[in-house]
Symmetry: C2
Subunit: 577 residues, 2 copies
Amino acid sequence: MKLDLHGGLLALEKGGTLREVQVAYETWGERRGNNVVYVCHALTGDSHVTGRLADGSQVEGWWENYVGPGKPIDTDRYFIVCSNILGGCMGTTGPASTDPETGRAYGVDFPEITLRDITEVQRRLLTQLGVDHAYAVVGGSLGAMNTLQWAVSHPGFVDKVICIAGTKSLSAMNLAFDVVGREMILRDPGWSGGHYHGTERRPDNGLAVARMLAHITYLSEKAMERKFGREEKTVAPATIFHTAFQVESYLHHQGSKFVDRFDANSYLYITKAMDEFDITAGIRPPHRVFEPSTADFLVVGLSSDWLFPPDESREIAEILLRAGKNVTFCEIDCEHGHDAFLMENPHLMALLSTFLEGHDSRHPEPVATVSGDAASRALAARTEAVIQTLLPAQGRIIDLGCGTGDLLHTYSEASDSDAQGIDIDVANVLECNRRQIPVFQTDLDEGLSMIPDDFYDVAVLSSTLQQVVRPHAVVREMLRVAKRGIVSFPNMAHWHNRLQLFLFGRVPVSPALAHTWYDTPNLHFLSLSDFTAFCRSEGIRVKAAHALGYGLISSILTAIGLKNIGGDVVVVEIERP
Amino acid sequence: MKLDLHGGLLALEKGGTLREVQVAYETWGERRGNNVVYVCHALTGDSHVTGRLADGSQVEGWWENYVGPGKPIDTDRYFIVCSNILGGCMGTTGPASTDPETGRAYGVDFPEITLRDITEVQRRLLTQLGVDHAYAVVGGSLGAMNTLQWAVSHPGFVDKVICIAGTKSLSAMNLAFDVVGREMILRDPGWSGGHYHGTERRPDNGLAVARMLAHITYLSEKAMERKFGREEKTVAPATIFHTAFQVESYLHHQGSKFVDRFDANSYLYITKAMDEFDITAGIRPPHRVFEPSTADFLVVGLSSDWLFPPDESREIAEILLRAGKNVTFCEIDCEHGHDAFLMENPHLMALLSTFLEGHDSRHPEPVATVSGDAASRALAARTEAVIQTLLPAQGRIIDLGCGTGDLLHTYSEASDSDAQGIDIDVANVLECNRRQIPVFQTDLDEGLSMIPDDFYDVAVLSSTLQQVVRPHAVVREMLRVAKRGIVSFPNMAHWHNRLQLFLFGRVPVSPALAHTWYDTPNLHFLSLSDFTAFCRSEGIRVKAAHALGYGLISSILTAIGLKNIGGDVVVVEIERP
């Protein structure tokens, strides 16, 4: 489709202009209310995400695993749009397109472009399609940066942003690989100063080797090792400087396939735009760039991605959290490196599906994961009920070690307060996501540096204190991000525990401490007295302590105030002085 | 020096021959008894390791930080030799040398070479220098592979092998980078089919870009981020496809500097030899390749090295361990990536110095690191003494969690048995190394897969069981690698602990459990009864239990057999049934 420029020019961020802009796009599904999902493609992608082409032919799309009927981005449910990006060579105007002023290919006379320009063209396309609001925008890699640009350039346009394996700006190493890739093309005599279009010469050698290099960075070391190892082909290598290793012939194949479908100048323009992308550049503090956005965010990092490491996704999520956005961050375990977002990954599929819809239509509800026997479960339920009564009717709550989000789920349903979860376990993040509870996946022992001081009204640490490595530091962080804290833990000094050690010389096993010494997930053991003594020494105010005992004796003991004897579990309200 | 080929040809592993071999070498220090240290250089290194050149000029050597007077490889103490490798371009015969048959440069008529050929030339050089036995051979990167080849090709030639940041064979990813690097050169029209020597043309573009790429792989992501980040230069970039980022101008500088000093064909030949190096190829089981070697080994991995990841060094060490060698493995913490072995690193310096000499002349003896008060220390000393009495007069002993090696040190001095330590902490590895105790740095929770079944006579697990995450699995592994085990741990059921919990409702703190609940390194708490019950359920035979009490009451209680009441610490002898 030709963009309607209303007789004018498309002005670009770096000062250039374009008189004509052609956009190649495809759509899937039907428009029904607020159901537009815009998909952003990666560096060398195109508009063909999935299914048949317009001419009816079946050509494999680049995201077949994720987009289609019944798939996480469900073509039966959403109206999905994807277009080739500006500067590309798959139908949208780019350096290989004809310059209307000269009648020849632009070549290096094509103006410099940025992610903002790329996004602007996408928005104009949607406008021309009659779309003035999108339900979601989603993308991986360069597409992830594209989604962030959407949130910043058009802050009210979209409800949900899904940003997979991206970065707020490329790292020095990532820049360096791009520099070397471009250099290969620029030093290829076939590049001919960039004006090779329409001549016999092409920088095929440079482009092929740049692609070979890029392919290494898209895979993880482990994935390459498993795919190729040091396996050899039986055919003799071409020269003594070629090896028989399969990895070599694989790379050659990737390189030569690529020069048939991609234009070297597009590669130069787009990688340069990617390198110069820096979504928080010049903004202090950085998170202010996202403040106007009305979207909820899902940010996903891939564990084995070393080109856009998961920590760069985490950094995006941290900035969004500081901007006060609802943000779910998850680092997904995978072995395939950066390219993993293109492959079938059950966790990524579930995350996308549930973030978009609030439930995963292809997976049944998970079985409740509460472990332990009836007594343990009863104690856990009572603990949660006590904590619920201690939460304010309204306010900002964070649950540190939120598990599957039971507490926050009940709380959010009863109030319209903001609730954020923190958990280390992917399975828990998935379940919270299903329940529409924003959850930030991290290890509490790493600290909460992504949360500003006093960001929350209350911080909850329920049945978690005893499982962290540095409880001391975790409590300190907890009372930094919120003035009030609620802590629950199993009480080692419960009478039954005391007797087990005293009379039988055995380390206690009880409803609240339900594991034997060698398979317990608890790293620390403490009593109510230990904890209050700790608070005293730290200058933390203990506002109240609540003891929950299992069985008649315990109940009587707690009722008469012997909390450190009767309490199987204790709930302590603490406050920064 | 010209190698004396005794009128014949140098036959190469792949079938080629050389009629003349020139070797460029340098030496430092004086020969005194068994003090020859041969240093192997890396891919693009040369014979100039340190100090002045023969003509008296001061040119910085590539390993100044490690070789020199008073340095870890001490020129005042050792007679050090380094030569440029075969196929190189720094004085030793290579593809740029003149072929005596044609009077022209070999170019690609130079025969294919291997690490075995490279090592053979080094050995012949030493022979011509009158050296028929070396004290040590040391190298990093390609130099590390070179040291392994020394151990295999000349198993009795050397006493100590130091292998830093190497691999037994390149990973698929490492191969892939080499493939792409070579491809850049081969596709450069200036390469001219390899016969550019003596012509106007040179593959400078290809070689420069190959070097730019290689430079990325030598640094860690973190190091690049810290060195360059996204800092920009103020000078305007050359074209719109060049960025202002400092990392770009740094890489350009590295590339153009390199073409002035290195020959593209040498790069092709040597990287190919490196790619094809596989020290255990065709040997089953792989460790048999090292069985003939009489050397002790120090294998060092660098934490941030992603080109030769530390796990590949660990793999070398594991193979050596299986071959029955004395091997110390240490993964050194560093941020600089692969290149870190060239930089000043106090841990690496201490390791080299102490592995070579048994003490670190530049550092004072470390202060004893035993923590705790007098009571704790007294208990620890008594525990160790009890364990000593339980060890056999002769045999193979492994101490799991050996700490600074106190137990093995005393044991080795009293017997001539083999002793191997395992510890997770670098500081402990350094101290064991200083005491000449071979120690393999690893996390016990990762298992002991590098040790075959029944490899040791006795395995000791002293004051460690309570600090591992999976004690269950660790005990199982322990009794796999040795039929007999000796386990010591603090006894939670000591009377004093019982009373603290029973009477005061506090989690015990005692001489054996010297930490408060929140700062204890112990992850598990157990009593003697807990442990014996565990052994029963696992089918492990408890041969004997010894209790050590602190103070009069405890001593009386243990003396009358109330071990689970009187013992602050218990020592349990277990055996696989």
